[in-house]
Amino acid sequence: MTAWGRRRGWAAVRAIAALGLIVIATAQGRGYGRQREELCPGPIKIPYDGKWAFARVAFEPSSEAEYHDLKWNHDCPRAEMHFAKILKELTLLNPYMEGGAVFTLDDPDLFKYPFAYVSEPGYWTMTPQEVANARAYLLKGGFLVFDDFREYHWENFEEQLHRVLPDAKLVPLDVHNPVYQDAFFRMKSIDFQPPYGDWMPVYYGVYENNDPTRRLMVIANYNNDIGEYWEWSDTDYAPIELNNEAYKLGVNYVMYALTH
């Protein structure tokens, strides 16, 4: 049995669930949280030098978040470091290689990075100023990717997104969408297994003016966590094929955002 198979087995065991295992899992999560807190404790500024850089959005997590878990910093900074290496290797993009930048939505410097990544939008909250900035960011030409959320997280994500774009329609995207076909990789399927849980990923997008002939400005990887794949892609955490699929999604998102 592969490592991936063993993890799936453990998930099944957790589903049958003994309280002790849940506690262990939670404890492990808090452990990762502390590690993340040390590496991505808050906004990270990088000098603007004309390079493309991975921008992560920091926010105040909702009260439902576990203690010490900032949520937005999941997989930071290993995910962006690995992703930048992939971009550098596969494309002619000239990315910032030392990880990425982290901005709150009310940070004016965010606007120098029109591609931004939001992790755990199930716990996303915004101040009125952040709402206004997020709206301006998207309508001016920015592109937001939401990742690492599932099940009931949707309600909060949708609610917050509608604070930014009240009329936004979240449209399911299939593999035939140009973002999956033309941007860089011609993907055969986007229905690959998330790194944990039994949910089937669903991809949603928001078009500019809700017009499918215009650009996508928001993509949500609901029931998926491609950042998790990126983070652990240098380990045997998941099969290489799945890591590849996660990278393909990310590369296509970046290339699409850069050209549309």
Binding site: L92, N94, M255
Partner: protein, 761 residues
């Protein structure tokens, strides 16, 4: 001055000019000279012998005065004469050409200019008419575009819409050919709007020995007048273009006043500009901005409301015919690396229905993303490899792509795209652009408006500098970089835009290039060109040396509704594709003519690789406003490759549509369209002041003389001293000139006065 001369010398200077000096003493010349020598010798001897109170200086002075008086007497004894050729009365003809154009109705002297003609040449009782009629057989002509014989001056109507002086003079000379002609008299304000030089006509007149006497009517400078003297408008633009048209406004009498220049499209005001008028006699350049919103041939009117006391008002407006094309011009944008410029340039021009930016994005080595292509095969092989493929586009944007990507043939083809095809090239800044992209010494470097030197930085440590971008004076008024509704608003907006950055330190722009934007920053040694352009061959090239103009859209300081980035890019790309020729282009010699005036059509014909072709069969179909169709064959001019020419004459007023089509062998050439508006033009009211220099030149070069109404009374006598026609030689005595008598009296008085002063009397 002339009258004083005539008083002293008995005759006017003109008579001296026309005559030859001669001596005709009734006695022996030798005897007179001998007599003078004897008298002079005796004089000298007597003065040298005199003694007494006088010093030797006194004797020299008195002797000189006496000798001078003797010389005057001797000169008179020689009996000097002026020999003049004078016409035989009534044996010669005099052609009188009266300006029949509208400008003669301008009342800038004692009444209208035409009133002078009526008072003098139009009235047999006038002194001038009588004096001329006594000496000559008079033949009257009226002239505007040509000269027509009329019975007398009363038949001149002053309705001509143009003045063609040279052509009219030749026509009159031809009409009088074979007759003894003493000269031609031109009565005119001197306006010549034929656009043709006079030299040939004047040489012909001089060769025929026909002097031209010119009478200038009107003031050389109006007291109060405003004129739109020039309109520089493009012949064709894309629909929706924010157009900038340059006018030249001249004025007298309204210095410092503020007036408004209006732009009208079919009576609807589409633009305006307030102008402070320059000092009297000076011309002020005025730039007006407006947007063309209606497709098709449009007549735009540029108008200044008549001002109080203004003498001539028809010159307050000018019309321009502009063909507004509702087509979609295609620009190829080749970007060598994924970067934000692609997205934001596409977004900026996305709403522009007349621009299509076809993107070829290199995303990885040998991997390309094609966007906004028309067909599945377009650019399927990457960057075009043939002229036909590249030259289909009207504009080319080179992004951050290294010169080494292209083959030498492709680099040459890009240069030819500009120089031969006439396309517009825009090179963007980037890691792989300009010197940093290895373009120094390539064919493309020759085309660019900026000078390329050695590469700055390295792959691991590229040059990078942030800079504040500012417009130059040329940029402030350029239609490309005007980002506000007015120049002032635009200048203000430029000050507030955030900094951009560059990977390319640009040293200098090439001579002849125009810099519109410059940048300065702490990492730059000096201010460097950010946006510069130049004409190159048939086309034009521009360099935009920043790498992140998208920040002018995305930056936090830019309001969401701000249109600066969109406006700049739309204007820039529209300018890049403006005036880019098609395979076949047609231009009319004048796009606005008076009915009856011939129009020359010139077609330039290329094949689809934009090589000139001389063996095509080219015709122009002209559709009159009445619907009548006329086919005009256009013939190869031989003098220039690919140039074909033909002529038609619009008869009726209205718009004439011209479609040029043709074939090269079995291949049909794509048609080209142009328009000509036939309308009564009011060119006579422009530059309508009296042109004395031109009239003087005509007189001087043909042996005639220039007059004004104040001096014209001497015209009959002056004309009579001509060698043309039937003439006799007349002798005029000069010994009795008052100047000689006065000189003699003066010398004697001087001698007497000197003696009195010295006590020698």
């Amino acid at each position: 001055m002339e009258s004083i001369f005539a008083f002293l010398f008995k005759y006017r200077p003109f008579v001296f000019e026309k005559g030859h000096f001669a001596l005709s003493a009734p006695w022996s010349m030798i005897g007179i000279v001998a007599f003078g020598v004897v008298v002079l010798g005796a004089l000298s001897f007597s003065y040298t012998r005199v003694r007494g109170k006088s010093r030797w200086q006194d004797r020299v002075i008195l002797g000189s005065i006496r000798a001078a008086a003797l010389a005057v007497i001797l000169f008179c004894l020689f009996r000097p004469k002026l020999m003049l050729s004078t016409v035989v009365p009534q044996r010669n003809f005099l052609g009188i050409l009266i300006d029949d154009s509208q400008s003669m109705q301008i009342a800038d002297q004692d009444g209208a200019r035409s009133a002078f003609v009526a008072r003098t040449l139009g009235s047999p009782d006038s002194a001038l008419f009588k004096a001329l009629a006594e000496r000559f057989q008079l033949r009257f002509f009226r002239f505007s575009s040509t000269a027509d014989r009329v019975a007398d001056a009363t038949q001149v109507r002053y309705t001509g819409r143009e003045s063609r002086l040279g052509h009219s003079l030749e026509a009159a000379r031809t009409e009088l050919a074979g007759l003894p002609v003493s000269g031609l008299v031109v009565v005119s304000d001197g306006a010549d709007n034929s656009g043709v030089g006079l030299t040939e006509s004047l040489l012909a007149l001089k060769g025929a020995g026909v002097p031209v006497f010119t009478v200038g009517l009107g003031r050389e400078r109006f007291e109060k007048d405003i004129e739109i003297s020039r309109v520089d408008a493009p012949r064709s633009v894309l629909l929706g273009t924010s157009l900038v048209v340059d006018l030249l406004v001249r004025q007298n009498g309204y210095r410092g006043s503020k007036i408004t220049v209006f732009v009208e499209d079919a009576g609807r005001i589409v633009g305006s500009r307030e102008v402070e008028l320059p000092p009297d006699g000076q011309a002020a350049p005025v730039r007006v901005h407006f947007t063309v919103t209606e497709a098709g041939p449009r007549v735009f009117r540029f108008r200044i409301a008549p001002q109080a006391g203004e003498l001539v008002t028809p010159n307050n407006q000018q019309d321009a015919l502009i063909l507004v094309n509702d087509r979609r011009d295609r620009v190829l944008y080749f970007e060598g690396e994924p970067r934000w410029e692609v997205k934001f340039i596409r977004r900026a021009v996305d709403a522009d229905k007349n621009l299509q930016v076809v993107v070829l994005q290199r995303t990885a080595q040998d991997k390309f993303l094609r966007l906004s292509v028309d067909s599945a095969n377009e650019l399927i092989g990457g960057f075009p490899k043939t002229r036909e493929e590249l030259f289909r586009y009207r504009g080319l944007i080179l992004g951050s792509v290294e010169a080494g990507f292209f083959t030498p043939d492709q680099l040459r083809m890009i240069a030819d795209f500009v120089s031969q095809r006439g396309g517009g090239l825009l090179a963007l800044g980037g890691r792989r652009s300009f010197s940093e992209g290895g373009y120094t010494g390539t064919s493309v470097a020759d085309v660019l408006p900026v000078a390329l030197g050695p590469r700055a930085g390295s792959d691991s440590m590229p040059f990078f500098a942030e800079m504040k971008v500012e417009p130059t004076p040329a940029g402030l008024s350029s239609p490309i970089t005007q980002i506000g509704p007015t120049e002032e608003a635009s200048a203000q907006r430029w000050k507030t835009l955030p900094e951009l950055s560059t990977f390319n330190p640009i040293g200098t722009v090439k001579p002849g290039a125009t810099t519109l934007l410059t940048g300065s920053g702490r990492d730059l040694r000096s201010r460097q060109a950010v946006l510069a352009y130049q004409r190159y061959g048939r086309g034009k090239s521009a360099a935009f040396t920043v790498q992140d103009s998208w920040l002018w859209q995305m930056h936090a300081s830019i309001p969401l509704e701000d249109q600066t980035h969109e406006t700049l890019w739309r204007q820039l790309l529209r300018w890049i594709v403006s005036d880019v020729p098609f395979e076949v282009t047609v231009t009319a010699s004048r796009d606005r003519v008076s009915p009856g005036d011939p129009v020359t059509l010139t077609a330039e014909v290329d094949d689809d690789r934009y090589f000139r072709i001389n063996n095509a069969v080219v015709t122009a179909q002209v559709v009159a406003p009445t619907g009548e169709k006329q086919t005009i064959p256009l013939d190869w001019t031989v003098s220039r490759d690919g140039e074909y020419r033909g002529t038609f004459t619009p008869k009726a007023e209205g718009l004439y549509a011209i479609t040029v089509s043709g074939n090269q062998g079995s291949r049909a050439l794509p048609p080209a369209t142009a328009y000509v508006q036939a309308t009564p033009l009011s060119t006579e009211y422009f530059d309508a002041e009296m042109h004395a220099p031109l009239l003087k030149r005509i007189a001087e070069e043909t042996g005639g003389r220039f007059y004004t109404p104040a001096t014209v009374s001497t015209l009959p006598e002056d004309v009579s001293y001509t060698q043309s026609g039937a003439a006799v030689v007349e002798e005029k005595d000069l010994w009795d000139m008052p100047i000689l008598f006065l000189l003699l009296v003066g010398l004697v008085s001087a001698e007497w006065g000197y003696r009195r002063k010295r006590g020698l009397a």
